[in-house]
Symmetry: C2
Subunit: 369 residues, 2 copies
């Protein structure tokens, strides 16, 4: 192609883009007008449920279903999420309390789930987030529940036991591990420090690239980075933020064995969420003693063909010999087959509490940070 | 209105929103296809200027001009910025080095300017960002240039003196100050600690609410927060992040006297940017001695009716009696009247360097954080 026909083609492409932008913008404006209409009707009815998790999830799933490219589903759902978020904020932005400080994965989870048109309120501790939402100072809370490196899961589970809040959403973010060190080269590394779970998650990489090098488990990857920052021949496994914060060069990046390594967060609210057809139900079950009981507990679900996505046990605080199980079941508590399984479990357990039924996360993708 | 007609209205509104979403999504897909076409033509030409600051600025200005509500200009330009950012990233995401760590205002400035579909690379120091962009490891760099509280301006200015990079954009973010203290109430505050500039920016509020209370200047607001975190009757002026990081309760929020208090950032690149009709030109001028010279320097601009938006003086590193002036002029270096003013200044000065002509910032709004 000659330069002048290239220039013509570029100019033509630009004109088409400009025309498209005008139309996209006009449609977003129309959408915002309708969102205001909806808000007015709801206000007249005395309703305050402007944000409906099940409706959001349905809309975003349709976006992914309709997507014919070239943008990937994650990008397109993110863009449409932002459009929805901006329209919703016309009335008043949602207040979302989260485990801070700013710049953490939990903040990224807030924006992933709610878009950027929210008032994100960082809080220092998980129980504060529960209190803020319970008291109505925040509309929703976002807390980590499966953090593969920092071990904060248990605080969230413990808080869920006594709280009146429901789980009304989940967010999964990809998490990457890097090897941080002042050693200059891998040959100079004599010791690798990290949280035990991170060491485990990078085991194959460490075996291949740092065979025979001592591995030392510490309380968190942040602590590991802090320690090795003052050393010449030690390396830490940690995220980008730690590399930056401690000015620790990244000797190798994305060293996790499982490329889909994720952290999972829960969205907490005061409302319960209707079924969307692709839901998860989290329950808390207390039983008296473990051996045998757990198997009996799980039998009804197996027989009904209901999938148990996750199970976590925690010692109860009430009696030393009690155990709490946190169980995630595929489906919604309003579905008869899920309800039946819950009833069967309840008849075996000392105590059962439904923590929430909520849409499975939509638009999974990498976290930032 | 009856409940059933309300329900009908809500259902109708939802259907219209679904139809709009499908159309918005289809148009975004079309836009992405054209963006790929543009990239292919440019690649065939051996060009690498996939991101063109002047084109972005023009597109976003048109978005704001066309906007008929109900979303405000800042929100709508943000949404369209994200659409552009996602389309551009189809080829390969822009790499943008910035002054980290993550969670800082500078990171927020990166996303404000480039959208979220970029690879944002946190760096520990301003000179590292210059080096990364100069070496081609990053496409662009983002650094603070007018930070009202931390005083980092000078590092950026000093780096600009010797760098081959051009300024190709600016970002302004709103910055809020809060009063952080363990004192519980204002009555319990005996001392207010902050960077001197923050104390000055909150002077009226302090006069009204904490009259007679001792004010103490320290090196940064972060340092102030760290100090008062261990005290019962002291307060710091700082941002939300510090409140969170040091678990310091916010006794009062947004206490700055000037509600439009901002921090300004520069976007650095290897390319120079064509005129858009609303541009700024930053120059560096070295003169031998100050008295009288500055006035002579500014006379040509005044006579030509060219606005000087900003002027900063810095001692030069070359000779003790030299001064550098950083001057921002409204207009583009390719405009004859700007060119004339620069020529006139150059004839008076020991040295003149054009640091860049770039579009004025588009879509001004509050920062996050």
């Amino acid at each position: 192609m000659s330069n002048s026909s290239d220039s013509d083609a570029l100019a033509g492409a630009r004109e088409r883009i400009d025309a498209l932008d005008a139309r996209i913008q006009a449609l977003i404006g129309e959408r915002a007008e309708i969102a205001l209409e909806v808000a007015r009707i709801k206000q007249a009815q005395g309703r305050s449920d402007f944000y409906r998790p099940e409706r959001e999830a349905e809309v975003l799933r349709r976006v992914a279903e309709r997507n014919a490219g070239p943008l990937d589903d994650a990008t397109l759902t993110r863009l449409m999420r932002e459009v929805m978020s901006a329209c919703l904020a016309l009335e008043s932005p949602l207040k979302v309390a989260y485990l801070g400080p700013e710049g953490t994965y939990t903040q990224a989870a807030v924006y992933r789930h709610f878009g950027h048109a929210v008032d994100a309120l960082p809080r220092a501790a998980i129980d504060e987030i529960f209190r803020e939402v319970e008291a109505g100072n925040a509309d929703f809370g976002v807390v980590p529940v499966e953090n593969s490196t920092e071990g904060v899961v248990s605080h969230t589970l413990d808080q869920l036991v006594g709280s009146s809040l429901s789980i009304c959403g989940e967010v999964a973010l990809a998490v990457h591990h890097h090897l941080l060190s002042n050693a200059g080269t891998l040959d100079g590394v004599r010791r690798v420090v990290a949280h035990a779970q991170s060491l485990a998650q990078c085991r194959k990489w460490l075996d291949a690239h740092l065979p025979g090098v001592v591995r030392e488990g510490v309380s968190s990857n942040g602590e590991a980075a802090r320690m090795v920052a003052r050393e010449d021949s030690a390396a830490a496994i940690a995220g980008r933020a730690a590399s930056e914060f401690y000015s620790l060069p990244m000797l190798a990046s994305n060293i996790e064995d499982e490329p889909n390594n994720t952290t999972r967060f829960l969205v907490l609210g005061r409302q319960s969420v209707p079924a969307t057809g692709a839901d998860m139900t989290s329950i808390l079950v207390a039983i008296r003693n473990r051996p045998g009981m757990l198997h009996r507990l799980l039998t009804p679900a197996a027989e009904a063909g209901v999938d148990l996505a996750r199970i976590e046990s925690r010692p109860s605080r009430r009696q030393a010999w009690d155990y709490n199980f946190f169980i995630d079941i595929e489906g919604h508590v309003d579905e008869p087959r899920v309800r039946q399984v819950l009833d069967a479990i309840e008849s075996e357990a000392a105590f059962l509490k439904v923590l929430g039924s909520y849409p499975r996360s939509v638009g999974f993708g990498a976290g930032s940070p």
